[in-house]
Amino acid sequence: MKNLYDELGKDVRYREGLKACINCGICTSVCPAAEVSDYDPRMVVDMVQQRNEHTLRELLSSDTIWKCGECLSCKTRCPRGNVPCYIVQALRSLSIETGLFAESREGRKQLVVKRTVGDHILKYGYCVYIDEVSLDGYPEQGPVWEWLRENREETLARFNTSYGKEQAGTLRNTAGESLEDLKRIFDETGGTARFRKIEEFSAQKAAETGKQFSEGRDEYFNMLNDGEE
């Protein structure tokens, strides 16, 4: 295994995010994740700042780094110019690259993210698409959304959108040429490799659970998404 700090140091977000933390805790005091869980960005920065390989490995294998919501409120407030969220972004990337994400319950849920907003980008050109957002998966959408989806041909025509059409406008079909551009960019810049790693490490973990694992919203996906692991 490569030296983890050497790998982390290659990430510009880590270099920009960690100047010198004085452990004042202002980041934690404004953090929405800390508001609703035991997440503590001050502790994350303190652990990373120790430059201990063992500690870093534990962090990369833990739920902790997945609890941040990336609102970046910490960037505004740190009196020393650190950005705990940037550090977390770099840690998350390294956790997936090393496969250590699959060692934590929250980390394993990255499969859900990859198979929804991630895959949607290459399928639709956008992270979100009305056809994929069912009330079953997103019950908080409520009855108005159910009505909109049921009647989308008629309502989206009333709103003068381009739903289902290959032309400029709201909710248009993204042209094949643009989707191919995205795919080639993903191939060139590590996006495709990142997705593959998520799938491969997830497949290994799924095998341990005995849950059906193939693609899309399979049994393993649903278990993770529903938090029933």
């Binding site: 929405p32 508001e35 709103f159 960019i185």
Partner: protein, 356 residues
């Protein structure tokens, strides 16, 4: 403090917004969850303000939601952004409008990264060329969609038919503004008013006759949290943070919330429904919620557009109490109609949140 010194300080909170000729980048969330909003935005810019805006069918997501949810490398999103700039160049434009606060934060972050690390920009030029054969130059001016409405707010104020006041008394409506974290918390100098005194929406409230509501959790996150919302079992994060805001603003009895970011608009609307279902609690008057509009929906309403043509029926929180307060006439029967007046079924009723 001398007046000139004060002015110098405030200059740091201003922002250069191009006069005309913009390339428009769509939002993933806005076009799905409030599907009339972006068409309305373009209509206001083109027809009310006479501006030139190019709507490019080749443009795509910036991939920001996936990036901030931790599944994409920085190199990938930077190269997707570079492709958008290449498309803008090909279309002959130099000014870039971003229709989403998450995207706005992404674009600014990428540009700042390239400014401080030119070797990274060079690498992205190579990556984009290898992948697509495209080259690019960065925009001369990059703004969030609401910045343009803000810039022309006084011109719009001259055109609006209804001011943000109670029709019955002439008193100003009490309006909550929600800016969205990535508008100015990441790079405060890129947002009007910075992170401390964001004025992009407050300026609209002031110019159009309303009263700002200054409540304790005004700057708190809506609770999107990216992966914390995408993953079903993590959504407690999101609703809990929105609830913190509702509880904080409720004593001020706001008539309306306006939001900058498509995600924030969605969460502040839908979580009111969820809280009503979970706790039988509602935050508006008489069992209604507090209506949540985007800035262009508010502009469209005041300009006299039909509320159902601009998509206010796609919000879960009913807009009718707001329409009544503003004295805006509406046809209840036209609310759930399709194209050419086609009669559609009516949505189900929430158990506790009152709807019309």
């Amino acid at each position: 403090m001398a007046k000139s010194r004060r002015n110098e300080i405030w200059e740091a909170y201003q922002k250069d917004i191009a006069e005309d000729h913009y390339y428009f980048a769509r939002s993933c969330i806005r076009q799905n969850f409030f599907p009339a909003a972006e068409g309305l935005y373009l209509k206001i810019l083109r027809e009310e303000l006479g501006l030139d805006v190019f709507d490019d069918p080749r443009q795509t997501s910036c991939t920001g939601i996936a990036y901030h949810s931790g599944v994409l490398p920085f190199e990938t999103i930077m190269t997707v952004v570079a492709r958008q700039f290449a498309l803008m160049n090909e279309a002959g434009y130099k000014n870039f409008i971003v229709s989403c606060v998450t995207s706005f934060g992404i674009y600014v972050e990428v540009l700042e990264t390239w400014k401080h690390f030119p070797e990274i920009e060079k690498r992205i030029h190579e990556a984009l060329f290898n992948a697509t054969g495209k080259t690019f130059e960065v925009p001369q001016n990059l703004v969030h969609a609401s910045d343009v409405i803000y810039k022309f707010r006084e011109r719009l104020a001259d055109k609006i038919r209804k001011k943000l006041v109670y029709a019955s008394t002439g008193e100003p409506l009490k309006v909550v503004d929600h800016i969205g974290c990535h508008y100015a918390k990441i790079f405060p100098e890129k947002g009007i008013g910075g992170a401390e005194f964001p004025y992009v929406l407050a300026g609209l409230i002031d110019s159009w006759g309303g009263a700002q509501v200054d409540y304790p959790e005004r700057r708190h996150c809506c609770g999107f949290g990216f992966r914390q919302y995408i993953i079903k079992s993590n959504r407690g994060y999101s609703v809990a943070n929105s609830k913190k805001k509702f509880e904080s603003m409720a004593p001020f009895k706001p008539d309306l919330i306006i939001a900058n970011c498509p995600g924030c608009t969605y969460f502040l609307d839908r979580w009111q429904y969820v809280i009503s279902e979970m706790e039988e609690k509602t935050y508006g008057e008489d069992g209604f919620g507090i209506p949540v509009l985007t800035y262009e929906e508010l502009a469209g309403l005041l300009l006299g557009y039909d509320p159902w043509d601009i998509g206010l029926q796609t919000h879960q929180v009913a807009a009718e109490p707001l329409l009544e307060k503003l004295g805006i006439a509406y046809d209840p029967a036209a609310k759930y109609r399709g194209l050419n007046g086609l009669k559609l079924n009516v949505p189900g009723q929430p158990a506790h949140l009152r709807s019309c």
